[in-house]
Amino acid sequence: MSVGEATGRRAAAARARAGQRTGFVSESVKRTTGWSAALVVVLVLSLVPVLWIVMLSLKTPATATDGSFIPHQWTLSNYSDIFKTGIFTSALRNSIGIALISTALAVIIASAAAYAIARLDFPGKRVILAVVLGVAMFPQISLVGPLYNLWRQIGLYDTWPGLIIPYMTFALPLSIFVLSSFFREIPWELEQAAEVDGATPFQAFRKVIVPLAMPGLVTTFIIVFIICWNDFVFAISLTSTTRAETVPAAISTFPGVSQFTVPYGDIAAAAVVVTVPVMLLVLLFQRRIVAGLTAGAVKG
């Protein structure tokens, strides 16, 4: 491109900016209106199904099937009902314990691997990344049969470790992606400085990098917790009783009053209870979750 053309274009850009500035008020009003409309659409589409399940959970059994969005008769009895049944309280305990342990293990194992991938030169890095990618794409249901068979033989069927092992495994790829991209952003010189001061590579990792990596670790912990908390495939296949059944599996087996009635209120109330912790995490850490998922997602 010639110099004349470039200056011409720059002048045009300046004119356009000046024009924008004079028409600033009307244009910004128009744009704000447009974005507000988009915001309202996003709000409504995201929230209606959530509000609906909340509304359903607040309906009395008699009005649960009236098809109205807003309850005609309000009640909290569905909530007190589910907490009276052993099936839900034990499922809640299982869900919390299994998700927390799986998440902690996954984040610990993944942060070690991610550190090596982000910082160290070693042969076989490509192989490791291929394995990570392979596991990320793996159809989990394909493991249900062999794991069901194996767990029954070695006594892990319907136990906490029986779910923790697959959860941890399938949380590793995303944890490694997210953490290694966080680790790559950490100032490299600090670690070298520590090593110059006589720290071993391991000390440099533990004393310098881990504190700097804390935000990344927290983000990864939240994302992985959500994944473990949400699982249904393994929960429904590898558990059968209140010993290890998590909430998603338990909800799907809630008994109705009779064989032909659906316990709408109980399902809805349990659904709300299991949704609340995740909603809180999402609302409190939305900025971090978005940063973590987009950073870990792809750098093409």
């Binding site: 974005w35 490791i128 493991l143 049969g145 590793l172 949704t275 792809v298």
Partner: protein, 311 residues
């Protein structure tokens, strides 16, 4: 700005080991750090899938444990000659193609809103994340109970007299809407990562040159974010192809909506036929591998997460 950037280079220079001893200790550390993750991932996926391959070559039925024996590929013959398998492949393909295409369009719109919005950026982000964070089973129940004639508000709103979930078309619509609602935010996040790579100056220059918003989007934004688009489509397609939770909650595959995963589950855990079920597992695994292969080799999806190529 540029001076600061120049002082602190964004990407660390690859370190060339000066001492072989240092390089060796670095490799040992790397092996120690990567080892646990690699062992766990390989042990928990490779061993069972090999087990599944072995089981798929046997007659293995938990109801008749004494009749197990090696029968070669006959389970595969059974599965591949059964109309139900091909029907389920078709159901899965329909749900995958329709839901992922719509997720892509809506996800792109949502990503643009999240990227460009001037008002309440945090609010948009938080609200858009709600479907992503919600338990899949809860999302499925919410939509199932909303569509069901017995309990839902949707039939009432649309003035339907029959139960939309009692026939195939209505059930597909409901299942696909559930999938779209649940997964569009994640699609948007993957695309948002790509949008961030499009330089504003380029868009502004094109605007000055008289390109319309649509032209700028199609000629600049989309080509520049092609890698992100391919990876988003790859991951969403693979995930949609494995659809299980939503269908299980809706009707466990009644009304002609049974997916391959659902068939896999029912063969294994309802009929307890490990041989046939494992054959389905292996076929599903091959399908997924084929989709990944087509995306990566065919379309050149640069799947190098977190700068896997060591940029």
């Amino acid at each position: 700005m540029s001076a600061v950037a120049a002082e602190t280079p964004a990407a660390p220079k690859p370190r060339r080991p000066q001492l072989t001893g240092r390089a060796r200790s670095e490799r040992r550390l790397a092996a120690m750090l990567v080892g646990p993750a690699a062992i766990v991932m390989i042990a928990v996926t490779a061993y069972p899938i090999i087990d599944a391959i072995v089981l798929s070559l046997q007659r293995s039925d938990l109801r008749f444990p004494n009749q197990s024996k090696f029968i070669g590929l006959s389970n595969y013959g059974h599965v591949l000659s059964a109309p139900v398998w091909w029907q389920d492949v078709l159901h899965t393909a329909i749900i995958t193609v329709v839901s992922v295409s719509i997720q892509f369009v809506l996800g792109m719109a949502l990503a643009l809103v999240m990227h460009r919005t001037l008002v309440a950026r945090g609010l948009v982000r938080a609200v858009a994340l709600i479907p992503y964070g919600i338990v899949a089973v809860v999302a499925a129940y919410s939509w199932e109970l909303a569509w069901s004639l017995n309990s839902g508000w949707i039939p009432k709103l649309l003035g339907l007299t029959g139960d939309p979930l009692s026939h195939t078309f209505g059930t597909y619509i409901a299942i696909i809407i559930t999938e779209i609602w649940k997964n569009t935010p994640f699609m948007a996040l993957l695309l948002l990562a790509g949008l961030a790579l499009v330089p504003d100056e380029l868009l502004e220059a094109a605007k000055v040159d008289g390109a319309s918003a649509w032209q700028r989007f199609m000629r600049i934004t989309v080509p520049l974010m092609k890698p992100a688009i391919l990876v988003a489509l790859l991951f969403r397609t693979l995930d949609a192809f494995r659809i299980f939770d939503t269908i299980y909650i809706f009707n466990q595959g009644a009304q002609g909506t049974e997916s391959i995963s659902m068939l896999n589950y029912s063969t294994l855990l309802d009929r307890l036929n490990l041989g046939l079920g494992s054959a389905v597992s292996v076929l599903l695994f091959l399908f997924v591998a084929l989709i990944a292969f087509v995306f990566i080799k065919g379309f050149g999806a640069g799947v190098a997460p977190g700068g896997a190529t060591g940029r």
